[in-house]
Structures are given as C-alpha cells and as structure tokens.
Symmetry: D2
C-alpha cells in the first residue's frame, strides 16, 4: 500500500481526491492536513465520504508526519507547495502538486502572473509537468509533479495533434473555454453564489487569466516555436465540466484530421476521440478521468474547430493527480480511475 | 461470472444499471434489448459508457437469448415484465424487475392504480419485494424480485424504525417528498423540459400517486396494522435525488429515537443514520447506493420529523437492483456498490 | 412624487426594491445608503439597472438626508432598523422595514430568537405587521410597517382561511416549506455557493427557525387561540421561489374548501386561488407580487393540503413592501406591481 | 389601441409576447390562434398570465378574425407565415413574423437551409429585416417585418461597429455563441429535457446551423462585401440568455474601439455599451429588451473580442417584435419595454 498524505484538502480538489483514493486498491490516505479544520473528521465535512474514511480527521500540518508518507498531494492555494515541497523531497517523499506552483518553468513568468516572487525556483529543474499524454516517461522518473490546470488540460489535449503535426497557423490560436463553477473553488466568494452564477453566462478575465501562460508554454513546446493564443474563459451555470472550443487555421486542408487525432491518442487510456461529426457533452465525463474530443472543419474551410471536454475536478485536477500517482509508482495507469461518468 | 440480460435499458434506470454493472467484478451484461434502438451500440446512445461496453448493442427482445442469462433485469415501463417474466422464470432464469409490475401483492389494487388488468397474477406468490432491509432472507431464496420504487424506498426506510417499534400514531402519517426530475424518466414530455422543470418547484399528483399504495403496503406490514398515509410528491429542479420529509406523532416521547434508528440499521451496509441534529443532503448520496437518515423531534413535542435521502436512480432503482443481485447470488452485498457519492 | 430613501440596498431585497421602484410612477429613489459601497453607482453594482438609475450612488447613511424623504425602506440585517427608525419616525418620515426588527410584537420573544436584546421596544406599539390581506386598514394609518418574512407570507396566506373559519385542529399544523437560495441573501456564505446548493435538496434549522415565532404569531391571531406548528424549511436549488406545503386536519369534512378559499381572497389583488385540483408552480410568480394557492383534500380524508407559492423577493419581501407603500400613501394598491411573472 | 392578433402562441416566444403586451399601454390582444389548443384559456396554459388575459382563449386560425386586426404576429414554426402572410397583407393588416420565413432575402438560400421550397418568394421584396439598429427607417414604412433570430441579433450587434467601420479582416470572423435552452423551444424533445440539458455544456450543429446564412447576410451588408464566418452554437444549462463571444482581427490597432462602439450605439435605446474592461452577464438582461456589449483587445494584440448578451426571448425574439411594433405604429420605441432585467 502506498502511504498518502494530503496537504489542504478542504476544497473541491481535496474531497475529489479523497473520493477517488477511497476506491484505489493500492493507496491509503494516512494524513490530511488543514489548519482551519484541524480535528474535524473528513466525513463530517464531506458527508459523501461517511463510511469511507472512518477515523481520518484533518490535522495541523506536521512535516514529520507528511515526510513519513510515500507521496504527498498538495491541494492548496498557490504558494503553499513552494514553502513545503523542498523539505518533503529532501526526505525522499514524492510530491504531486495540484496547485500552480510548479507548472510554469519560468520563475519570472510565474511571479508576474501570481503577483508574488516564486518561492522555490531551485526546485523547478526537478518539476515535471504532469500531462501524461506528453510527459509519461518523465513522470515515471519524477519526484515532483506539477499537475496541469483544468483549462490547460482540456485545451492542450485538443490542440496537440494539430501543433505536433505542424498543421496549424500558430500565430492565431483561439481557445474559447467554458467552465463549471467548481473551478472557482469552495471559497465563499459572492461571484460563486448560486444566485450570482446560476442561470447566467459570462466571460471573465478576458484581459488575461493565469492559465494563459501555462497553456502557451505547453503549446509552444508542442509546436516547437512561439505561438499566439487568445484565451477567453467563461463561467457556466453547472457544477462540473470544462468545454474548450478551439479554433485554428490549418495550412493544409487535405489532411485527414479525424485520422490524425485518432492516431495521436490511440494508446491513451484517458483520451477519447469521438467519431467524426460528434459533439462531446461535459456530462459524459462527469466524475470520470476522461478527455473527450471531436474535431470539425465546418463548411470545408481551413478553420478547424476542436471540441474538448473534461471534468475539471477529475481529468482537470484530482483524477489526473491519481493518474500521475499510478505512473509514478509503476501501477496500471487506470487503477482507481476506470469508472464511467455519471449520466444523467 | 453472472450472465446478465437487460430488457429495456434506454431509460435512466437502464443507463445507470449499465454504469454500475461496468464496475461489478462478477457480472457481465450479455444481452440488452430495445425494440426502438435495436442495432445501436449502447455507447453511442450513452457516451459516458464509451470504452466500457465495446461491442454491446441494443437488440430486439429475444426470449431465447434472455433465457440463456442467469438473471434478467427489467428496466421497462409497467406491463412488460408481466408479459415476459413467466417464460424466463420457467427457463430457470432469475428476474429482477425494476418496474412496478410485481410490487403490489394485490392484483386488484395494482389494476386500479395502473389502469389495466394485472398481467401475471399467478406470479405474485413468487414475487419478493426487494427491500433488503426488510426482506433480505426472502430475497436470498427468491427467483422473482420486485425492486421498490424510489419514493417508497426513501419513505419506508425513514418510517420503519418508528412503526416496527409501535411508536407512531399510524393513522396520520405524512410523507412530503421531493424528487429530482430524473424520476420522471427519459420520455420526451413537456413537463420534464429544462425550461419547464428548471428554476421552479411544484407539488404534483396530490390527489393520488401510484407510489402511495406501494408505500402503504410496506408501512402496513411494518406496523402490523392498517395505516393512514398522506403522500405529497414534489418536482424539484435537480437531476437526481429524493428527499423524504416524514411526519409522525409518537405515542411515547421518552424513547431515545436516535438510538432506536441507529440500532435498527446498525448492520445495514447501505443505510446511514446520521448524528443527532443532522440534515442530510441529497448530493451526499449522488451516484451512491446509500440512504441517509436523520431523526428530529422539533421543540421537544410529540411530532417526529424524519429526513431521508437517496439517489432515486441508485438506492431508489438500479443500485438497489444490483444489491438484490448480490444477495440473490450469494455475493458480498456491497460488491460493485461501495463507491462514494459524487460531491460536489 | 413620493421621495424614497433606502437603507441598505446592496442585498437581493435591495436590488429587487430598486427594480420595482424603477417602474413605479409615483415613487422616486432619492437616497440609498450602504457603508461598504459608498460612492459606487447602483448600476455598477447591479448592471440590470443600467439606464434606470443614472446618477444614483450608494452613500454613507446620513439621518438628515433620510429624514428628508417621505418614506424610508430598511433592507438591512436585523438590528439596523431598531437603531435608526425612531429618529426617522420622530422627523415624520414613514418607515417600511423589510427586516425582522418589528415583526414580533413581543420584545422578549424577539430577543430569544435573535440572540440580542430588542433595540427599540418602545416602537412596537406603533409597528403594524404589513400583511395587507390581514391588516390593510391598520397599514393605511401606520407610520412604521414591519414587512412580513418570506416563509411567513406564503404560510400564513395558505393557512388563514382554515383558521379564521375555525375549521382546523390548531394543535398539529405542519408547514413543510421549500425556498430558493436567494432567501439566504447575498452574503458570501459557503452554504449558498452554486456548488453547495446546486443539484441538491436539504432541510435545515429543523430544530427551530426564526420565522417560526413570526408564523405562529400570525396563525394565533387568525385562530383566536394558541396553535401548535411544526415548521420545516428546505433549501431548494432554484434562485427565487417559496413553496409552502401545509397540512392541517379539518374538523368538518363537509365544508367546501375551494369556495372558502375563493371567498376569503375574492377581493385581494395579489392572492390567486387556483381552480380545484391545481398545483401552483413557483415559476408562475417569478418576479411578480402574487401568492398562488391551491387547496386539496387527498383521498377525501380529513387532512387538508394547501399549496402556496410566492416569489420570496417580491410578495415575500420587496413587492410586498411596495404594496404597503401604495396603501400607506393612498395609491392604487397595484401601482408598479401589475406585471406578470417571468415564465419560462 | 392597436388591435393585435397572434398566430401560434403556445411556444415560448408566444407566452413572452403575451407577457410583454400585457403591460403595453397601446396594444390589445384580440385574437390568438392555436389549432392544438383551441378553446384553452391562455391563462390555463400559462398560469403566470392569470389575471392578465381574462377571457382570452386560443382559437382555430381564422383569416377573417386575423385580418380584422391592425397587426398580426407570427410566433410559429417556419412555413406558416409563408402560407398566411399574403392574405393578411392584402387585407391591409401589418405582419410581424418572429419565424425565419422572411429573414433571408434569397429564396434559394432559404430553401437550401430549411429543406423545403420558399412558400412566398413574391413577398420577399416587401419584407424588412427587423433589426431597428440597422433598418429603423425601413421598418417605419414596412408592412411585413421579419424579426431577426436570437443568435443573429446578438452576433450582428456585436460585429456591426467593426464591420461598418471597415476595421475587421472580414475573411475570418468567428462567433462562439452560447444559448440557454429556451432557444430550442417548448417542443417535447429528449435533448431539451432537464436531465439531458442540465449540468452540461455542448456545442451543436458545428457543421452548419440555420442562423449562419442569416448572420452572414447581415454582416455582408454591414461590411459591404463578402465575409467568412465560422459560427459555433453551444447549448448552455440556463433557461434564458445568449452570450455571443466574437473574434475578429482588426487591421488598424490604433483605433479606439471603446469610442467606436459607444458612438455607434449612442442613440440606441436598447443597446448598452458597457465600460471598457466589462464582462456582461446574460442575467443582467433577463426579461429585458437590451443587448449589452463589451469590447476587448486582450494583451494588446490585433484580435478583438466582443462580448454581446441578450435575452433570447426578448431582444432575441418577442421584445424585438414589440420594438418593431412601436416603430411601425409611430409610438415611443420603448413603450412597454422599459422595465429592468430580473436579477437575481
């Protein structure tokens, strides 16, 4: 059994991690920390977990207890993993960070977007960006994994086949993305209230969103050159789900895009390229660690439209974290993640 | 492996059954029938199942193929199981019926509420009402199981401890029940449209709902005498979930109700009596085969309020059907049903 | 033109009051106060009001500016009107209080439920409970009006005909009530988040809710004697709407309840008794100052079920406040309130 | 009083038209037809209208009764206005058609997209496309008005300032649009069920949607040349609202876009250009006849992002129809349409 620690865990990625690990045959949560909820049983906070974590309570962060784990997940706001990861790594504990702390390889860029200095630039050389469809081999050898963000996961997986094949005009990529409200976390913010976010749709952060540099970094690597990306996120009145609608001009309209996408993801357990003409629904991946993709070329023009959906809390966060865990520990990559989405 | 057939299966209880059986280690779906969708792959109809049922397609009902199964589930409108169950039972196939066909033991009562003659009264003596918390031993020996309805499951489990203990004034029981829209099924009815059922609450069928005689039958057996029940169902703008708010006057206010409920369900794997003062949320059981109950006596009076929640498609239908399957075939009752609810 | 001041007004009852007054031909909002939002234009906070309140901004509360108004609405948390109403009344300004400060006639009872001493017991003798269907004549003469709460409005209007006629067993009244989330206000509370309140149903405050004494007070007056009430509120995943499902045993089953209800409300502009057998939907009153009621006696027994729906922000708060304004100033009671509900 | 007839009217644009006309001081609904609901009172079908249309019932279409009206609205599926408009026009009755029958000026194009021959090509020369912000003067003189579709209204109003100013690369316009479910109408279709459309997001008709040629026609006229448009509609889990996110490359980045948009719509009563940096929400226009627009140029590049929101049933259908009525009959264009949106 892999002994698991979780730092933070009172938020939505935390409870989702607990839900997924509860059915994982090889992992056991030994420690879960929360300063604010110390002493509270996890099942008292999250009644869906009653019967699954008897005796497990949030505890004050204690580096010794965490270092005694085989792996520690960070389900924390940014900055926390910067402060704690180094000590754990030094103790030989692997770190899987669901926050944004180690996603950008450029500490200066990180500081610019997060408005504070990077707290652990010396660890960046060890950080592997945990998108298995790109970095599976590096993940296998890693000790510090930066789990990709939700928008970046859906968007990169949708663009990758085009960029890797050198098929897109990389100067004018557009990602029009729609997220469920759980992407905003469990913080008590007015904008996330039922009566504010319900029955309404709006764009936000059009000026610039923190996921923009993360997506750009991945697309640049896939394209092998600089790219130009316009990223417009939208808040959508649903709890879970991200729908990325991606636009790119292709330089060669004779290529069979359906075949290209199917081939790219043929061996991927968690990317599902749907048949030509499909329109993936976010609900088809609710609760499941799957990215569903369809590729269109409307009216036979040179503009390609890729539709890419994930559950932001699963393939966009906690599920992908468990997928990384499986790779890291040499387990079947699908362990604990093979259930179907909850529909309806 | 238990060879499973499913009759019907294009509705919500059908897709939920497929979702649950996909992760059941001892059951395999061999046949699924639908006259209207014959030839369609189940994963084409329900994309959440893509990758889980490769090769399985709906087929025209064929009694030989069904009779070759160890067990056949009916996820059909009422009347269908009446017509087909007899032949399957004669062939030695077990039948687990999710419809209302065999829930009422009185064929005349059935005919009155369903507006047509009972189609198989001769099978009633063999039919076991599949509420494991009441009939576990009978289920073990059964060959024909009538899976309880959704309202009846939540309501009976909430009232049972009071009635079995002879504590309630049985003449004035009230069940004020709230159901998610999936309880109305996948039929294209105006009243189930997003724009009709969304952002609104209403009672319906106050005059009399088909689940009334089913609940009354169960409560009568628990009480050992006639009971008087007022049942008011409400349509609630959520997809899954039933919340039964139950009212009964107790004849002895000195009894420790919390202890009574905890004791009654101490050994039940799927009934969770919450701590005193709790308010169970339907989302805590979303996708899970659990009934969560809390018992209150507001202002210390003699009126007891029981709060009982289930997922109507799981403990209220397909999950309970799988629980019956497990009991019927001598498996661990929790097999394939031990996952936590999806929250948020 | 009636010169209107509003204290508070950043919450949902505040914006709703502004929406309604924007189309009121005889009222003009001169002052709106908010300490936290002072200087912010109301249309910047509430973009639905853009074009309707050019130039109106929140200001720091200033008793002189408020006292210069003909009437001041309080759309504040409890306690604020206690502190400020006296001075305004002394200046000859009328006060319409949407908070709970003057709803209970017994200051001790108030202190018990609100956990603090009553701040203005000397004003209670002047306070009129602003339920026009009961107190229209008193409202006409009043200078201080306590606008009823949302649950109390729907519940009292549903029970009144039975109690006034002496038809109900008053010892065992039950109000099973369902509220949209806007009833919890615009405060940034975790429980009101989209991802907490969405797609779920739960009861709350079963032990005792602050609207219980308010409802009991009204029912007691209607019945002319003590009453016993069990009140169970539920949080429902919709923005607006209250659905009260009321249960009472009638002492005489020969009375024509439909006729009784129709007669009681025949002259009421904002109470709509629906035809026998109806099930009112909350959406039918969305945005409208209407209470829709249906009365049932299921299975011909002696238990009466009354269904009563309102929009909690309109007939349950701001609309009723405007209705009181109209009565107070001798206007047509329907002025500014005659629009139909928004459906779908 | 203008005597109004409505053909069709059982759908969502019908009930919305009735809601708006109920508060219109100069219009009176004399006839409303529906073959399927003939004899049913409109308030029985739409309880939000109880008290507003006493005595008005759906009747079998009768051309004499309709021709006796000053104006007839068609709130019908396509094809119906083709069949009936000619006769009404011949009788001197004005026609305001909310369907798609007269929106495309090219009958062949219409036939291609609607899969049937155009039923009244001889009337096309008289048909005025009822977008007041473009065709106000023509509307004033018209006798047959084609009310624009919902997507076309939001999308054209967002693109117009750029195209009229000759600022955009017209070969690569993108409209990524999100619609509430009421856009699909009140028909009992599985895809519009609460449990299918709720808690999920999906694109649809990426291959080609009937609003594409309508939008293209308008943009072509604004640009004065051929344009290339990719239009991707999405189904969003809300009842009302359209959010168009529009992308265009500008050929001159020195132009002050905010000023351009503000100037273009300075005199428009129903187009609201929000301050720079804004993100309009669909809920801000719920129930209101307003299009709210914000214009962005993210990261200072040459790609412009326009955000444009409307209520699909109001400015996208019935409200715009009433706006046309007002223009047509020389009334204040805002008559009956000046109320604020319903928020929350």
């Amino acid at each position: 059994m892999i002994k698991v620690g979780i730092v933070g865990g009172t938020g939505y990625t935390g409870v989702e991690l607990l839900r997924l690990l509860a059915q994982h045959p090889q992992a056991e949560v030994a420690v879960i920390t929360s300063r604010s909820e110390a002493g509270v049983a996890v099942a008292d906070m999250y009644p869906n977990l009653r019967g699954h974590y008897d005796g497990l309570a949030f505890s004050v962060p204690d580096s010794k207890a965490l270092a005694a784990c085989d792996v520690v997940f960070f389900a924390t706001p940014h900055g926390v993993a910067h402060a704690l990861a180094g000590e754990l790594l030094a103790a030989g504990t692997k770190v899987i960070d669901l926050s944004a702390d180690f996603r950008l390889q450029d500490a200066t860029e990180w500081a610019k977007w997060y408005g504070q200095p990077h707290g652990a630039p010396e660890l960046l050389k060890d950080a592997v960006y945990g998108l298995p469809e790109v970095n599976r081999e590096k993940i296998r050898q890693a000790r510090l994994i930066a789990v990709p963000g939700c928008y970046p996961t859906a968007t990169q997986l949708g663009f990758l086949p085009l960029l890797e094949a050198g098929l897109a005009d990389t100067s004018r990529l557009i990602a029009d993305c729609k997220s469920g409200v759980s992407g905003a976390g469990r913080g008590a913010a007015v904008g996330s209230l039922f009566c504010e976010a319900g029955e309404s749709m709006k764009a936000y952060a059009v000026k610039g969103h923190r996921h923009l540099p993360e997506i750009s970094q991945g697309l640049r690597q896939a394209a092998g050159k600089d790219i130009g990306l316009t990223f417009v996120p939208h808040l959508t009145p649903m709890i879970r789900g991200i729908h990325s609608t991606l636009y790119a001009t292709v330089t060669d309209t004779s290529v069979d895009l359906q075949a290209l996408f199917e081939k790219r993801y043929a061996d991927e357990p968690f990317v599902d390229v749907m048949p030509a003409g499909s329109h993936p629904e976010t609900r088809s991946v609710r609760g499941a660690n799957v990215c569903r993709i369809a590729v269109h070329r409307p009216q036979g023009g040179d503009l390609v439209v890729v539709l890419s959906v994930i559950d932001n809390l699963v393939k966009g966060a906690s599920g992908q974290a468990v997928q990384n865990l499986n790779i890291l520990f040499g387990l079947d990559e699908r362990m604990g993640l093979s259930h179907a989405g909850l529909l309806p």
